[in-house]
Amino acid sequence: MKPRVAVVTFPGSLDDRDALRAVALMGGDPVAAWHADRDLRGADAVILPGGFSYGDYLRTGAIARFAPVMAAVREYADEGRPVLGVCNGFQILCEVGLLPGALIRNRTLSFVCRWIHVRTEGPTEASAGLAGGEVLQVPIKHGEGQFVASQEEMGRIEAQGLVAMRYCAPDGTIDERFNPNGSAHNIAGLHNETGNVLGMMPHPEHAVDPDLGPTGGHAVFHWLLSAARDRVHA
């Protein structure tokens, strides 16, 4: 049975249809969910897609956080089901506290759309995160992707191995010159402690179709779908 993956559409979500398409292409069963829904239609995993939910005028994710569907998302996270937040989805996950830190305006103050490389970090023993040690080519497109956290929080993030991926050179070297937005420690994506929640600024859903470009998004969807499949069989 194909794992069912819900993609939540908030007013102002933009990459929701792309995420649905990517789920199907990668062998999942895509399910469209709506911000006003209170449940996720029995899906095995959930994606909070990119975009500008509710316009993102006050602060990214500030309003989406209160959407009815978020209670269900939180439940998924707590139950250990896979939750993927991409770009605006990552911002929302931070805003609701499912992931630490926050994303603020890029250091350059400009929006940036570019194909970049990230290196995945291995998950800790205890967690079920994305496999480490891979260099993925994926696009970013955001104006507020600079990851920040207080010093103590940063210490905890590193100590607990919560970093899922960092911006890097094409050969995988972590280097400030390849940091597109000024993120602390080149952080491009984070896990929660149990590894079932992943937030990332790059867009894996735009890096799955070889007709359109590199396929660095495969690794992320493989992780999401296999984690979802585990739930199906569990």
């Binding site: 509710y54 005028y57 006050l58 209160f66």
Partner: protein
């Protein structure tokens, strides 16, 4: 001497304020249905080194006019820092 100034830059009246509108429309769904006329602007804080407060102030005014605000769509007010009364919210 160094003087601290605060500036508030906001959209001219009559112009649509999408930020304010978004906040205002969100509040009732969060349980506050008694809020109106929300406007969102910028707050800029800066420290100016100068011989006199008057001189510093007139420089801030020039900066505000020429760079910190967009006179086509925005107005600004200068608050002299020490006339601002912080209230008890955490800071």
């Amino acid at each position: 001497m160094k003087y601290r100034f605060e500036l508030i830059v906001s959209l001219k009246e009559g112009l649509l304020d999408p930020q304010g509108k978004a906040v205002q429309e969100a509040l009732p769904t969060l349980g506050w249905d008694n809020v109106s006329e929300v406007r969102v602007g910028k707050h800029i804080e800066l420290l100016v080194e100068s011989d006199s407060r008057m001189e510093a102030r007139s420089q801030v005014e020039e900066m505000a006019r020429k760079f910190l605000s967009n006179p086509v769509i925005e107005d600004f007010v200068i608050l002299v820092a020490d006339t601002v009364q912080p209230a008890k919210g955490p800071r």
